[in-house]
C-alpha cells in the first residue's frame, strides 16, 4: 500500500512503519526516562525531546550510515533516530562505564562515533560550527555524505550561528541546518528574544535555500530534507530547515510545567491534536503496530536493565582521556 503524502512524495507501507517505529520508540524512551527520573538512578539533567521527535525522525530517515548527525543537549531524538545504541545512552545517563561516553559525558553530550553521531554541546549553538567542520572534512575527502545539525530557536541568536552560515555557504559545505523552533529558550518566548521571525528569509540572504515547516508534519519535514540532501549529494551547498514544534515537558527534567505561567496548556493541546506519533500510528495496521510497540517496550526494558546492571566507572577513569595518545 502506497500512501500519498501532502508533500507529494510517495512512501510505501514499509516507510510508514519505519517512521512510526522511530517516532514511537523515541517517544517511549523519553517517557521512560521521565518515569525513572524521580528514582535518582539517572545521574544527569535531562532535556527531553517529547513532542519534537518528528524533526529528527523526518530528517534522519533519509540519511545513510555514512552521513553525520550533530545535535544539542536536547539531542536524545537525533541520537536515537540515527541508530545509535539505546543501552549505551541509558547507561550514559546512569553514569555507568558502559555509557556511550563512558560515563564522562552525560545526557547533554551523547556521542556514537560508529553511527556518525558526532556529539553535542551544552553551550547553546556552539556545536553548529563543529558540524560545519565535519562537513568540510567530508567535502575535502570527496565523500557524498552529508551532515545534519539540529539546534533550537535560541541557538540562532548566537553570533556563531551566522558565522557558520556564511562559511558553510561560501565553501558550499554539505550541511543541513535544522532549527527546532519550539518558541522558547527555557522559559523565555521568542518575542523577548527575536526582533522578527523572518529567519528563513534571513538565512536565504546567505545564499542558503531555506524552508519552514509550521505544522510539525513529519512527511513535509522528510520531503524537504530529502530535497536538500539530494542537492548536497550532488555538490550543492548547505540547506536550512526551520521546523516549528513544541516542547511538551519542562525545559529540563521529567515534568510538565503548565502551572508556571509562562505558557498555556491550550498551546500544548493544539500540538497534541497534531501529534505525529499518534498520526503515524493510525496509519499502521493494528497488528503490525502492536508488534512494533511490543518490540519497543522490550528494547527499552532491556536497555534500562543493561544500564542498571552495568558497572560504575573505575576511579582511575577520572584521569584517562584528558589527552589523547
Amino acid at each position: 500500500m502506497d500512501v500519498a503524502i501532502s508533500s507529494a512524495d510517495t512512501l510505501d507501507g514499509t516507510d510508514i512503519q519505519r517512521i512510526y517505529r522511530s517516532l514511537r520508540r523515541i517517544r517511549r524512551i523519553e517517557e521512560e526516562v521521565a518515569r525513572v527520573y524521580p528514582t535518582d538512578r539517572i545521574k544527569s539533567p535531562v532535556h527531553l525531546s517529547i513532542g519534537q521527535e518528528a524533526i529528527s525522525v523526518g530528517v534522519i530517515d533519509l540519511l545513510g550510515a555514512e552521513d553525520v548527525v550533530g545535535g544539542s543537549y536536547r539531542g536524545h531524538a537525533a541520537y536515537l533516530a540515527k541508530g545509535a545504541s539505546l543501552p549505551a545512552m541509558v547507561a550514559e545517563m546512569y553514569g555507568k562505564a558502559t555509557g556511550c561516553n563512558a560515563g564522562k559525558g552525560g545526557s547533554m553530550h551523547l556521542i556514537a562515533a560508529a553511527q556518525n553521531v558526532i556529539g553535542a554541546s551544552a553551550v547553546v549553538g556552539t556545536h553548529i560550527p563543529v558540524a560545519c567542520g565535519h562537513a568540510l572534512a567530508l567535502k575535502r575527502r570527496r565523500s557524498s555524505a552529508v551532515v545534519a545539525v539540529f539546534f533550537g530557536d535560541g541557538a540562532v541568536e548566537e553570533g556563531v550561528f551566522y558565522e557558520s552560515l556564511n562559511f558553510a555557504s561560501l565553501h558550499k559545505l554539505p550541511v543541513l541546518f535544522i532549527c527546532e523552533n519550539n518558541g522558547f529558550a527555557i522559559h523565555e518566548p521568542l518575542a523577548k528574544r527575536w526582533a522578527t521571525d523572518r529567519l528563513c528569509e534571513r538565512v536565504a540572504t546567505f545564499g542558503i535555500p531555506a524552508e519552514r515547516v509550521a505544522d510539525g508534519d513529519v512527511f513535509k519535514i522528510r520531503s524537504l530534507a530529502g530535497k536538500f540532501i539530494a542537492d548536497m549529494r550532488a555538490g550543492g551547498g548547505p540547506g536550512f530547515l526551520e521546523c516549528l514544534t513544541y516542547r511538551w515537558r519542562e525545559h529540563v527534567g521529567p515534568s510538565e510545567d503548565y502551572d508556571a505561567g509562562y505558557r498555556q496548556r491550550s498551546d500544548l493541546e493544539k500540538w497534541i491534536a497534531n501529534d505525529q506519533v499518534a498520526r503515524l500510528g493510525g496509519m499502521v495496521d493494528g497488528t503490525v503496530r502492536a508488534q512494533i510497540d511490543t518490540e519497543i517496550e522490550q528494547e527499552i526494558s532491556a536497555a534500562f536493565a543493561f544500564a542498571e546492571s552495568s558497572p560504575i566507572p573505575e576511579t582511575k577513569e577520572l584521569y584517562t582521556h584528558v589527552f589523547a595518545d
Binding site: M93, G95, G103, S107, M108, H109, A122, E157, P313
Partner: protein, 356 residues
C-alpha cells in the same frame, strides 16, 4: 569593613544577593539588571525574584542568547554612566564573552586615558553535581584575575554576598562576581540595611596555629568542615576567606602563613595557573627563602569534570581530603589518619539533585 548589627536576621545567600540588588536599584536609578532568564519565574534560582515586578521591564530584562554582544551592551551602557548587572547562569558561558571582558571592559579606563569608566557587575554561577559535567561545572575566575583592570570577588556566605554585591555595584570598574550554586541555600546573619564588604580585605574564619588554609568560594565551607574534623584531633587550622581575589589581601595570608609555617590553598577551580598558584607564589615571594613555609595547593583534579557521580566524587576537594592533606603536613606523611566517615558526611554539603 562595615558590620552593622541592627536588623540582622538569618538570610540565605540567594536572598542576600537579591536584597543587595534590590537595595542598590532603589538607591540608584542607573542600576539595571539583565541577562538570560532574570525575569522568568525561576528568577535565577530566586536571586532575581520580585525585581521585575518592583522595577519594571526597562530595568529588569532578559536578553537573546547573545552573551558576547550583551556584554558589549553592558560595557557601553556603563561607559555612558549606567550601572549594569549582567547575569549569566553559568560561569562556563563567560567563555563566550571573553573578548568583551578582556579586550574592552578590562582596558577601557586605561586605554582611554582615564576619560571613561566601566562600572558593571558580571554575575555568574559555578555549577556542581547533578551530572552537569564538562561544560557546566567550571570555575574560571583565574582567567579574569590574570587581566589587569578586572576585579574578581567570590563571597562564600550570605553576609559577604550582600555586602560584596553592594560594593560591586558601586565600584567604578568591571567586577566579576563569582557565585557557587551550592552556596545559594546556605544561611548567615545578614543585616537588613545596605552595607558594603570592602574588597581586598580577607576574612579570618577560624583561628589556628598549625596551618593556614586559604579557601575560595564554596571551598570555605568545605575547609571549615575540615577544620572541625581536625580540631577534634588537636590540629588547629586558621581558615582564611580572601573574599575578593582581585584585589587580594595577601598581607593577611602572608602574616598567617609566617606564623603557622604551613599554607594550604584550596580553590574551587583547577590549580594550574589558578588562584592557588598565585597565592602560593605571592606568599613565598614575600616570605623569602628562610621562612620555611610548607605549601600545598588543592583544587579540581587536572581533568575534565565528569557527570558520573562515582567519578565526580573524586574531582573536588572535600572536607575529608582537605583534612587528610593537612594532617599529613602537620603530623607527617607516615601518620595514618582517616576522618570518621559519618562525621564527614555530616558536612553541610549533601548531594545536589538539581535543578540547575
Amino acid at each position: 569593613m562595615s558590620l552593622p548589627t541592627d536588623g540582622v536576621r538569618p538570610l540565605k545567600y540567594v536572598d542576600a544577593l537579591r536584597e543587595a540588588v534590590e537595595q542598590e536599584m532603589e538607591r540608584d536609578p542607573d542600576v539595571f539588571l539583565f541577562g538570560l532568564d532574570v525575569d522568568d519565574h525561576k528568577a535565577i534560582q530566586g536571586s532575581t525574584q520580585g525585581l521585575l515586578a518592583k522595577f519594571g521591564a526597562e530595568r529588569v530584562f532578559t536578553t537573546p542568547l547573545s552573551e558576547d554582544a550583551m556584554t558589549g551592551v553592558a560595557i557601553g551602557a556603563a561607559m555612558a554612566g549606567m550601572r549594569p548587572i549582567h547575569v549569566h547562569i553559568r560561569n562556563d558561558f563567560l567563555m563566550l564573552c571573553m573578548n568583551q571582558l578582556v579586550n574592552i571592559a578590562a582596558k577601557a579606563h586605561y586605554m582611554y586615558g582615564g576619560s571613561v569608566k566601566v562600572p558593571m557587575v558580571v554575575r555568574s554561577m559555578i555549577g556542581k553535581s547533578w551530572g552537569q559535567g564538562a561544560q557546566h561545572s567550571q570555575a574560571l575566575h583565574s582567567m579574569f584575575m590574570h587581566v589587569p583592570g578586572l576585579k574578581v570577588v567570590a563571597p562564600s556566605n550570605a553576609h559577604d554576598a550582600k555586602g560584596c554585591m553592594i560594593t560591586a555595584v558601586r565600584d567604578n570598574n568591571p567586577v566579576i562576581f563569582v557565585e557557587h550554586r551550592l552556596l545559594y541555600s546556605t544561611e548567615s546573619a545578614v543585616p537588613e540595611e545596605p552595607y558594603t564588604v570592602e574588597f581586598g580585605r580577607a576574612r579570618l574564619c577560624s583561628r589556628g596555629d598549625d596551618v593556614t588554609v586559604v579557601a575560595v568560594s564554596n571551598m570555605v565551607i568545605e575547609c571549615l568542615r575540615a577544620q572541625e574534623l581536625l580540631s577534634e584531633i588537636g590540629i588547629h587550622a586558621e581558615v582564611i576567606d580572601p573574599i575578593s581575589l582581585v584585589p587580594l589581601d595577601i598581607e593577611t595570608i602572608h602574616a598567617s602563613a609566617m606564623r603557622t609555617r604551613r599554607l594550604v590553598v584550596v580553590d574551587n577551580a583547577w590549580t594550574c595557573c589558578g588562584a592557588s598558584a598565585e597565592i602560593v607564589a605571592r606568599v613565598l615571594e614575600m616570605a623569602g627563602p628562610r621562612a620555611g613555609i610548607e605549601v600545598r595547593r588543592m583544587g579540581f583534579e587536572t581533568t575534565t569534570c565528569p557527570p558520573s557521580p562515582w567519578l565526580e566524587a573524586h574531582f573536588y576537594p572535600n572536607p575529608s581530603t582537605v583534612a587528610k592533606t593537612i594532617h599529613s603536613m602537620v603530623r607527617g606523611t607516615d601518620a595514618e589518619w582517616e576522618p570518621d566517615p559519618d562525621r564527614v558526611r555530616l558536612a553541610y554539603q549533601v548531594q545536589f539533585n538539581g535543578p540547575f
